[in-house]
């Protein structure tokens, strides 16, 4: 018997077709993953199940929970169902909790609503303990802003399971989290599903996240279900061309041209970067936080170096120091022997030999400038500004080399897709032919298929221009593909370094090991419920 049956569900929002003829089943204890790229309609399927669709939505078809059609239920009956029979976990742990209520109160609220037979606070303590937040460790009277992202996600899970629902819906529950936290949350969800024999509908854009835990994977594209299969079948014998493409790009490996090692270009020596914390009282000295603590490395000319670490490990601070955007507290950063920051200001003579590509394809450009103006901004660093014709020539050249057209120079950034914008960002970085390019999470915000294209572009540019770059990412799989050497950073320190293959195949440091084992991979299947 199925717990959830969705039959021929179609959805329109303001006359725009979002979902077409969706059908699926979830049985008790079963984990069904829905995956697809952004805009595929996977979240809308979840919201439709909860009947929490945005205004202006029209649905057709049937959604049966325990054989009752929820489409026919009144709002009051739906309220009785939500949080009681069906629980839901959301993507953004930072904003999904009410900032002005304690976590205890927020968990207890759902108990009070559906289970008058239980003591709300005692039950809240009980479920919070189950999700790994026992009241001895994390008091019920804490407010959400005092918890970490992973802890908040646990609170949200606690709210969802507080009344022992039959079905749990998790909408991208780990997307906003670091890999190690992600692994813990996934494990928790899996454990809860088995213990309570709940059905779990797991929505994610990352196929790798769910191959290890799901019983069934549903691939969606443009509001259609294109394939439904068990993970092993899906990976080994994908049927639909889209699934094949998705698996190919998820497992995509870019191939770098052979390394030609030369003299050191960038030298980072014993760099320390610290910030003063606000004073706790006027009598004590302000505390310090070391964002970067005694970091040294070299980037020889022609090498592709990766820098990996989770958020807050100090990699962004290090980037800013290398770019000479802020002075270091101690140590030295030099490019060909010249300091990047000297005499109290950034050394522009060095700066013109470095460029950077940022993460956010939407925030990287002034929306009011045309592409031509955007990508020529680094010309500001040159002593001799190129003439108009020279400039046109170089714009055309760098746009072509990133796979865009010279005529794109007259467009505004909003006329491009995310992937195209990232190409523009790369065009801006190479236009003055820098010796060193820093890619700061440059592909993290992109969908997997677009990501693969950008990675290919970077390797292609490597062939053309013999690039030296520092590739910074929280995502191990990306770094593995396009770097020769890698540094692993944790709490401001470099904990492991070596050639990329060696670090990945034979990690020495415990942190590196945990990072590698926590990273979801398509090929490995370690656990199956």
């Amino acid at each position: 018997m199925s717990l959830l049956q969705i039959r021929n569900l179609s959805l329109c929002i303001n006359r725009l077709k979002i979902l077409h003829d969706i059908s699926m089943d979830i049985s008790p204890g079963e984990i069904v993953a829905i995956t697809g790229e952004s805009g595929s309609g996977k979240s809308m399927t979840a919201l439709a199940t909860m009947q929490l669709l945005p205004e202006g939505s029209k649905t057709k078809g049937q959604i049966l929970i325990n054989d009752r059609d929820t489409m026919l239920l009144s709002e009051t009956e739906m309220c009785r169902l939500r949080g009681n029979t069906v629980g839901m976990v959301f993507q953004e742990p930072m904003t999904a909790l009410n900032p002005v209520q304690t976590i205890g109160a927020q968990v207890a609220e759902s108990v009070r609503l559906h289970r008058p037979d239980l003591d709300p606070m005692a039950r809240a303590a009980e479920v919070l303990t189950r999700v790994g937040l026992s009241p001895e460790l994390v008091s019920l009277s804490r407010f959400p802003h005092t918890l970490s992202g992973g802890q908040r996600q646990r609170v949200i899970i606690a709210i969802a399971i507080a009344c022992s629902p039959k079905l749990l819906i998790a909408d991208e529950p780990t997307t906003a989290l670091d890999v190690t936290t992600q692994a813990q949350i996934l494990h928790l969800l899996q454990k809860l599903t088995t213990e309570d024999s709940m059905g779990l509908m797991m929505i994610t854009h990352d196929l790798a996240v769910v191959t290890q835990m799901a019983d069934q994977i549903i691939i969606m594209k443009n509001g259609h279900i294109v394939e439904k299969a068990r993970p092993s079948n899906l990976l080994n014998t994908p049927k639909h061309p889209y699934t094949k493409a998705l698996i190919a790009t998820s497992a995509h490996r870019a191939t770098l041209p052979r390394l030609r090692q030369e003299a050191p270009l960038l030298r980072v020596r014993n760099v320390v970067q610290s910030y003063a914390l606000p004073r706790r009282s006027i009598f004590t000295a302000p505390g310090k936080v070391y964002a970067v603590n005694d970091v040294s490395f070299d980037i020889p000319k022609g090498i592709r170096l990766g820098l990996v670490g989770e958020s807050g490990c100090g990699k962004s601070t290090l980037t800013r120091s290398i770019l000479g955007l802020e002075p270091v507290k101690s140590g030295a950063i030099t490019l060909d022997g010249e300091h990047v920051f000297s005499a109290g200001r950034p050394n522009l003579a060095v700066r013109r030999r470095m460029q950077v590509v940022f993460q956010d394809p939407y925030g990287s450009f002034n929306p009011r400038h045309r592409v031509a103006r955007l990508i020529t901004e680094p010309f500001n660093l040159l002593d001799k500004k190129p003439t108009a014709t020279e400039s046109m020539d170089r714009i055309a050249k760098s746009l072509t080399s990133v796979g865009l057209l010279p005529s794109d120079a007259q467009k505004y950034p909003h006329q491009f897709s995310g992937g195209q914008r990232q190409r523009i960002a790369i065009a801006r970085a190479i236009i003055i032919r820098p010796d060193l390019i820093i890619f700061d999470e440059a592909v993290s915000a992109l969908d997997v298929s677009v990501r693969a294209q950008i990675l290919d572009l970077i390797t292609e540019l490597c062939r053309q221009y013999n690039l030296t770059y520092l590739f910074i990412s929280h995502d191990l799989s990306v770094v593995r593909n396009i770097t020769d050497h890698v540094l692993v950073m944790k709490s401001g320190k470099i904990v492991e370094r070596g050639s990329t293959e060696e670090v990945f195949s034979n990690p020495q440091d415990t942190y590196t090991k945990s990072l590698i084992s926590a990273a979801p991979q398509l090929s490995k299947r370690t656990y199956h419920a």
Binding site: L323, L325, P346, L348, R351, R352, M354, Q355, V356, F358, Q359, D360, G363, S364, F365, N366, P367, R368, L374, E377, P378, F379, N380, L381, H414, A425, R428
Partner: protein
């Protein structure tokens, strides 16, 4: 174009037109007294009636629009001219003592009851349109400084600013090239709001006799004149009152409409 923007443009244009035309032509001379014709209700000759000195109300409203608009316009100019650079400067030095001083100064001006200080200024330096402009303008400075800083702070965290810094551009150049153009929408909307508030403030100041002095006509003083006569000649209060309401309403609708039109979020949807 949405309805509120259309109404807003229509009303604002009407008042502007009345003010501009009044330089060249008014139905009657707004200063000529005609006691025998006093307190006439609106009629064919005097479209909006006459006041207690027999002056033509329609002509007075036209010339009064000039006063209101000038005072509010210059006061907004003061706010924009000083507030925006201060806001940009504070943001460029964010966290530093310049920022601290500018923002504390702003808070301080905000903490002052604006009307009381405007009254204090005009009381000390004497009533008149120029002092009214200064009094209203001073309180526009922190408003624009705050709006500028609020918007600029968000922009400074964007990566395109970082890209400009990587391209070796200094804070002043970034503020002018990258921050200011992206704040234009925000400032235009705020300017419309401050403009309408300026019209209300000018009316209040001239109502209590601290604004433009006779013989310069102003809507606020027309209301003060009407106060004792409101029971026998209600049109004397209704005409300037509705002039103020329609002007302010028009400007507010214009501001709302512009905000919807210029909102980047809505533009994304249209694209």
């Amino acid at each position: 174009m949405n309805k509120s923007l259309f109404t807003g443009i229509l009303l604002s244009a009407l008042i502007m037109l009345a003010a501009i035309v009044s330089f060249a032509w008014t139905p009657f001379d707004h200063t000529s007294l005609n006691i025998p014709n006093k307190l006439q209700a609106p009629n064919g000759t005097h479209w909006l009636g006459t006041d207690h000195f027999g002056r033509d109300m329609f002509s007075m409203i036209m010339v009064g629009a000039r006063t209101s608009i000038t005072v509010a316009f210059v006061a907004v100019g003061i706010g924009l001219g000083l507030g925006v650079p201060l806001g940009l400067w504070a943001t460029a030095r964010q966290g530093g003592w310049t920022d601290e001083i500018i923002m504390r100064g702003n808070d301080l001006i905000f903490a002052f009851p604006s009307l009381v200080i405007a009254i204090l200024i005009t009381a000390v330096f004497g009533p008149g349109a120029v002092n009214a402009i200064i009094a209203i303008g001073i309180f526009n400075i922190p408003v624009f400084a705050r709006v500028t800083r609020g918007g600029a702070l968000q922009l400074w965290t964007r990566e395109f600013i970082l890209a400009a810094r990587v391209a070796g551009k200094g804070a002043i150049r970034i503020s002018i090239e990258h921050i200011l153009p992206n704040l234009a929408n925000l400032l235009i909307v705020q300017a419309t709001i401050q403009f309408s508030l300026g019209i209300l403030a000018e009316a209040a100041l001239s109502y209590v006799g601290l604004g433009a002095q006779p013989p310069t006509p102003s809507w606020g003083r027309m209301l003060a004149d009407a106060q004792t006569l409101v029971s026998i000649a209600p049109h004397m209060a209704l005409v300037p009152g509705f002039s103020i309401i329609l002007t302010v309403l028009g400007l507010n609708l214009l501001g709302d409409g512009l905000r919807d039109l210029l909102d980047p979020k809505l533009q994304q949807v249209q694209k």
